[in-house]
């Protein structure tokens, strides 16, 4: 019974985890040393650290995207651009500082977080108060934002050549793990902590599923939607911070370009409905790493550069079809049949029909009809 409970709770993770496993198998076939990790210049090096390193910004943005999707029933497409603006402000602050110390960097980061909050507030007000569709509301920054970043950059692409930035973008001497990975983990832990110590999950889900019922239970849907956009703003600031320190310079034209596509995809692969409601951040995070791994797997398979997009598209189409309600229902039916057989078997052996009958989740719905 308990095992089954865990299984039902984990059921939404089946898709992302199986995709991840499939990719791992493909990679292992390609080379048995896939998981091997060596130490280079005092830091861990290998495929896994590379994936964790490469996906850090995506993971952070995906967390925000999951929350925005859950509550506002739509997606924020301005995230890459917003991160470009916040990081431009960070860079502007740092290069204008007389001396770059850890305090400068932290101050710059905090200022960029404030910028992220302002951007989030802008999008959030449009969506929550003016009821603009999230995609349309965030289209404004998506189209105009890079010009703003370019202006902040002083029409140049400023260089972030200082040791601390370099260490944030690579490794801190003496620490065996690349800094972006650590920052991502810290961010995930903070997210988990926030979800544990607040009712964000319950509120966001309620608002996303049934805003009217949420309101009648004392939740202000506008505030919650606005809040998710504020959180998104912080996510973009953190992602922008990591991205620009990784790159070592601020390229307002290409920084995190089109990353919203991957973030939305990660939310979907994570088993979340893009029309809001129930969400699983764990699923989204696994989804983000899956996408990173997919990109690398295609490179590993040496797919022609001309065909790489098509391959990715085909893979994603298959994934979306497999996770569609139609196919899910079909598999559930088959699973029910299989379970019934198992049940009969179990009844014959154990003579315990009642408990077994209730624990089959597929049967409940039909029974109640």
């Amino acid at each position: 019974m308990n095992m089954q409970k865990v299984m039902t709770r984990m059921s939404h993770l089946v898709l992302p985890i199986s995709v991840l496993l499939l990719l791992i198998i493909i990679n292992l076939i390609k080379g048995a040393d896939y998981f091997s990790i060596t130490v280079v210049k005092g830091a861990l090096y290998g495929n896994i650290p590379n994936i964790l390193f490469g996906a850090s910004e995506l993971v952070i943005l995906t967390i925000g995207m999951t929350l925005v999707t859950a509550a506002s029933q739509g997606q924020d497409i301005s995230i890459g651009v917003s991160a470009t603006i916040t990081s431009a402000i960070f860079v502007l602050f740092v290069i204008n500082a007389a001396e770059v110390t850890l305090v400068t960097i932290i101050a710059g980061f905090l200022i960029s977080c404030v910028a992220g909050l302002l951007i989030g507030a802008f999008n959030g007000i449009l969506v929550s108060i003016f009821k603009v569709q999230p995609m349309v509301a965030t289209l404004i920054l998506f189209t105009g934002g890079r010009s703003i970043a370019f202006m902040i950059d002083g029409k140049l692409s400023p260089i972030l050549a200082n040791d601390i930035s370099n260490q944030i973008g690579t490794v801190i001497p003496g620490v065996p793990i690349q800094t972006p990975i650590i920052l991502t983990v810290v961010f995930i832990i903070i997210t988990a902590w926030v979800l544990k110590t607040t009712n964000l999950r319950l509120y966001a889900q309620s608002v996303g599923i049934n805003p009217s019922a949420a309101r009648l239970n004392g939740i202000n849907p506008k505030k919650i939607i606005f809040l998710t956009f504020l959180i998104m703003g912080v996510c973009t600031a953190v992602a922008g911070f990591i991205a620009v320190n990784k790159a070592g310079r601020h390229d307002s034209v290409n920084l995190l370009k089109l990353i919203m596509m991957d973030a939305i995809l990660a939310v979907a692969i994570g088993g979340n409905s893009l029309s809001g409601g129930k969400f699983s951040i764990t699923g989204s995070i696994i989804g983000a790493y899956t996408i990173e791994m997919l990109n690398r797997t295609l490179l590993r398979l040496e797919v022609e550069p001309e065909a790489i997009k098509a391959f990715k598209a085909v893979f994603i189409i298959i994934l979306m079809v497999v996770s569609s309600p139609v196919v899910r229902d079909f598999t559930r039916k088959i699973m029910d049949r299989v379970r019934t057989l198992g049940l009969i078997d179990g009844v014959l052996k154990r003579h315990a029909p009642e408990t077994a009958a209730v624990s089959s989740p597929g049967s409940i719905k039909r029974k109640e009809e």
């Binding site: 080379g31 090096y45 370019f150 029409k155 050549a161 089109l258 690398r296 040496e302």
Partner: protein
């Protein structure tokens, strides 16, 4: 910082109408009237350098009465061009957002006796519809870079090719010579990847990481822009593979970003191939000399290596911010 933001606002609000007004009011005789249709500077550092050069060359001090329109919208561009034709400019300089849809406009310019000079970007039209065009020759850039690779004197060349946006003119041109050399057996392409539509640093890094993970032996990285070369070098650094002047892997980038040139100067990279955004000076030379060439003209462009690079060249030809001498951008 506040000041800068304020400045931006002020510039945005005030600058454009002022420029137009000033241009209209001070029409003086003896000035050469030029209409420039260009893309917006915020498109890229490259375009910023291009627009800046246009502004400084076609100035009143140099005897020009010039008006410039910067927009990424083709219809707006065409409307601006038609406006300049009505104003009766002497020369019409165009860098088109879209290569098609210009035939009528170009013909009416021709009928009005206006000389049309295309710069930086070509237009799909009959040669008779414009006087001259000054552009970068991507194939030439690819040739130069490939020549440099072949001239390194390596025993065998195992090259990682990192392309830009697939199918773009720059990608096709810059890939051609390498692919040809590989076909002729002069070098071997051990990994062939792309930075995608955004010529992405991260994607380039992944291409190199994948090659390392696959245990590929390579000694040249040919990245079709500076950002991707940077990403490639980040991958080498993380894997502890030496590169640059005294290293194992030779690295070449494109575009002459100043940070890239400083990296070359420091021996962190090995070479960079120019893509020159500053057509203004050459075009002005044509106009002043009174003898305009006809048809497509290609710019002479430089390839700088750790040996040939100088501060002056970086200052003169580089684009985007200069990190300063000796500063490496990792």
């Amino acid at each position: 910082m506040k000041k800068r933001v304020l400045c931006i606002l002020v510039i945005l609000l005030v600058a454009s109408p002022l420029v137009l007004f000033a241009g209209g009011a001070q029409e003086e005789s003896g000035m050469i009237k030029v209409g420039i249709v260009n893309l917006p500077p915020e498109e890229s550092g490259y375009r910023q350098a291009n627009v800046e050069a246009m502004n400084s060359v076609f100035s009143k001090e140099n005897g020009y009465d010039a008006k410039q329109t910067n927009t990424g919208d083709n219809t707006e561009q065409i409307a601006a061009a038609k406006g300049y034709i009505r104003d009766g400019v002497d020369y019409l300089l165009i860098s088109a957002a879209n290569a098609s849809g210009w035939d009528d406009t170009l013909k009416s310019a021709k009928d009005a006796g206006i000389k049309v000079i295309l710069f930086d970007r070509l237009i799909d039209t009959d040669k008779a519809n414009f006087q001259a065009a000054l552009v970068s020759d991507m194939a030439y850039e690819g040739d130069m870079a490939t020549q440099w690779v072949l001239s390194l004197g390596l025993d065998k060349i195992n090259l990682i090719l990192i392309r830009g946006q697939m199918g773009s003119a720059a990608e096709i041109g810059r890939s051609a010579a390498v692919l040809k050399a590989a076909g002729a057996g002069k070098l071997k392409i051990v990994a062939d990847g792309t930075g995608g539509d955004s010529w992405s640093l991260e994607e380039a890094r992944k291409v190199v990481e994948a090659a390392i993970a696959a245990g590929k032996d390579f000694n040249v990285i040919y990245a079709q822009n500076d950002g991707m070369a940077q990403g490639a070098v980040q991958a080498l650094e993380a894997a502890g593979i030496s590169h640059g002047k005294s290293g194992k892997v030779k690295v070449i980038g494109f575009d002459f970003n100043r940070f890239a040139l400083r990296n070359v100067q420091a021996g962190y990279w090995d070479a960079d191939m120019q893509c020159n955004p500053r057509q203004a000076a050459e075009i002005s030379k044509w106009i002043k000399s009174g003898s305009l060439p006809s048809g497509i003209q290609y710019q002479k462009e430089l390839l700088l290596t750790t040996d040939t690079i100088t501060d002056e060249l970086i200052d003169q030809w580089g684009i985007n911010a200069d990190p300063g001498k000796g500063v490496i951008t990792r």
